[in-house]
């Protein structure tokens, strides 16, 4: 009985392991959680779930599996904080769910089904996995996840190269790379640490002590050095909005990993391509600009510059003055990119789009050209390569 429950949990995306199931069984053998259903529920949750993010999923599986005892478990179906659901709804689909979604059939079949469903459906719909609406796993609708989905009437993405109503979404292969959690990213970013000794001397300097002791004829002469601190400085420029919406989650992860890893981290946002102004707070992007020139003046050239963006735009946005989609830019994006990379010789561009897709977009090639090939995919190996590039000023290492 518990094995089936365990498998159900796994398929619902709760990352429980066999060891944890064994622990639960061991606990039951010790007579814990026998007296009441509630006790059993708490015990099972304590053993199997190791992150509060998965509490909701656990609750749902638990409720579904132990049906028939509904009166005992009635209290389980209480409301959860809306922000948890929101997270799960928008971007927490698991691998299994994605596979399931993919299994709905090929493109042609999808079109057929869509026709049928359009005839069936009369009302507006949100969530769920069948009807056309928003934020669901149905292949039809907007803002949801389905690798072969059809976007119906979503006009929020004005900067995609093709704004069609029936466009095929292209992220079927986005997630089959290495899955990056913040922990993995932090481990990758750790390489960028640069230690320097600063402040009060608190550590024993062994070689100096031995040396000084030998010089003073065997009398102990202790030498101390200051502790090591991470002094690397990072300037992070993030592309936001438009085609970057698909990558919000990975970029957030990268950002939060960088946030906790570097003491000296400055970040600014740009849209598609950096021009004469950047902004720090996305909510006030139209009011509070910081001039790019000012940024270059404020942060010295020992900062390492990291762009994060998908570099997917119309080529005009890079090469022509006035090409920006948002405002009239006096100088072309290319000029600004060159200025930035001159000001910060240690730079890299991290692209959340899979590397295999880069060649399809001319703007990626142009930016690669401007940046001397220092564009890296947002995967573990890509980050490693990017960090190697950040440590040197010369030609890229690939």
């Amino acid at each position: 009985m518990l094995v089936r429950f365990f498998l159900l949990l796994k398929s619902a995306g709760v990352p429980a392991t066999i060891t944890e199931l064994m622990t639960l069984l061991e606990a039951l053998a010790h007579g814990l959680g026998e007296a009441s259903a509630e006790r059993f529920y708490h015990l099972a949750r304590t053993c199997l779930v190791k992150d509060e993010r998965y509490y909701d999923r656990f609750d749902r599986v638990f409720a579904a599996h132990f049906k028939g005892a509904e009166d005992i478990f009635a209290h389980l179906s209480r409301e959860l904080p809306p922000d948890w659901l929101e997270k799960i709804l928008v971007r927490d689909l698991t691998e299994e769910e994605k596979v399931q979604v993919q299994a709905l059939g090929g493109w042609d079949e999808l079109m057929e089904t869509l026709k049928k469903r359009l005839e069936e459906q009369q009302e507006r719909h949100q969530g769920g996995n069948k009807w056309i609406g928003t934020a669901g796993t149905s292949p039809f609708g907007a803002y949801g996840y389905n690798p072969e989905g059809v976007r119906v009437g979503q006009n929020g993405s004005r900067n995609r190269s093709a704004v069609k109503v029936w466009d095929k979404r292209e992220f079927a292969n986005l997630d089959d790379g290495v899955e990056l959690g913040t922990r993995n990213m932090k481990l990758a970013l750790r390489k960028l640490r640069k230690f320097a000794r600063r402040g009060a001397p608190t550590e024993l300097a062994l070689p100096e002590t031995i040396d000084a002791t030998a010089r003073s004829g065997g009398w102990l002469d202790i030498k101390m050095v200051p502790e090591r601190h991470n002094v690397v400085k990072v300037l992070l420029l993030l592309d936001i909005g438009g085609s970057m919406d698909d990558h919000v989650r990975t970029c957030e992860e990268l950002f939060s990993a960088a946030r906790s890893e570097f003491k000296h981290l400055e970040h600014f946002y740009f849209h598609n391509c950096p021009y004469e102004a950047l902004w720090r707070d996305n909510r006030r992007r139209f009011r509070e600009h910081v001039g790019t020139v000012e940024v270059m003046r404020t942060y010295a050239s020992d900062y390492k510059l990291i762009f994060v963006g998908d570099a997917t735009m119309s080529p005009y946005e890079i090469v022509h003055p006035g090409g920006s989609v948002e405002h009239w830019n006096e100088e072309a994006g290319r000029v600004w990119l060159e200025r930035l990379t001159r000001a910060y010789p240690r730079f890299a561009w991290i692209n959340p789009r899979p590397e295999a897709h880069w060649r399809q977009t001319p703007s990626v090639e142009i930016i690669q050209d401007v940046l001397a090939g220092r564009m890296y995919p947002l995967t573990l190996s890509g980050l490693d390569a990017a960090i190697d590039a950040l440590s040197s000023t010369g030609a890229p290492l690939r």
Partner: protein, 266 residues
């Protein structure tokens, strides 16, 4: 609580998460007190190494003693300083060990403790001996989610998330801390408190410990309950808000929201 019982019976570490100020650390003290067992605390800082919880070898003072001809120098044991984990392992009764704020340490820290927590033993390199725990201790680990913990570590722990208490529970909590508190004051304080907590976009939401601090302040200043219902008074934000709101952006945001509400109400 089921989680604590399970952790005690199977003697596995119990990982406690929850918003800051919901009493994670106090739980360990409470367990030790109710069991009548000694409590060993190990507070983690960003510079803490796993080794420091086991023992430290003070080579410098041994070197110094050797120069001064101190007889203690013959025995290396005199220079090994036991950490809180060692002390807990050596304890005669089942001790309670608190590893506080494990997420503050370096990202590799939990991995360095895997064997020690799993087998409850470790090897002292300097004296070539293995220290085994006499009794498997109850280990309570707290985390504020500042860093994600590695899976291998999580697998060895039990996990419990302390939910933020609702209004009824909160009333009971306050009752325990301030018996004989005036009913109206408590009601007004709680209303204000939950109103502040519900303000969207606060950087740091006030929690239980902040509420208790605030009530303590209100009592010390002898503020009447009416002052909290500041609908008609000129002051927009609650008195002594410094105990609840901890940065100037939050205070500013809260003021703005109250101002808007007031205007809409008219």
């Amino acid at each position: 609580m089921a989680a604590v019982n399970a952790a005690m019976v199977l003697s596995r570490p119990l990982l406690i998460k929850g918003e800051p100020g919901t009493g994670k650390t106090l739980l360990a003290a409470e367990i030790a007190r109710s069991l009548g067992k000694p409590l060993y605390e190990w507070h983690i800082k960003s510079t803490t190494k796993a080794q420091q919880g086991l023992y430290e070898y003070d080579a410098v003072s041994r070197l110094r003693d050797s120069q001064l001809g101190d007889p203690r120098v013959k025995d290396i044991r005199n220079y090994i300083i036991k950490g809180s984990l060692w002390e807990a392992f050596e304890c005669e009764v089942h001790p309670v060990l608190l590893i506080d704020e494990i997420d503050k340490a370096d990202i590799e820290f939990p991995n360095d403790l895997l064997r020690e927590l799993d087998r409850m033993e470790f090897f002292v390199y300097e004296t070539r001996e293995t220290i085994c725990a006499r009794h498997r201790s109850v280990i309570i680990i707290t985390s504020n989610n500042e860093k994600e913990l590695p899976d291998a570590f999580l697998r060895r722990c039990f996990f419990h998330y302390i939910r933020f208490p609702d209004e009824d529970t909160m009333t009971r909590i306050v009752d325990v801390h301030f018996p004989g508190l005036k009913r109206e004051l408590l009601r007004e304080a709680l209303t204000t408190f939950f109103k502040v907590r519900e303000t969207p976009g606060l950087k740091k939401k006030p929690t239980t410990s902040e509420l208790l601090d605030w009530i303590k302040l209100l009592l010390a200043e002898d503020i009447p309950p009416e002052a909290l219902r500041s609908d008609d008074s000129k002051k927009l934000i609650p008195p002594l808000y410094g105990a609840l709101l901890k940065n100037e952006q939050d205070v500013h945001l809260f003021e703005q929201l109250l101002f808007l509400n007031r205007r809409n109400a008219r």
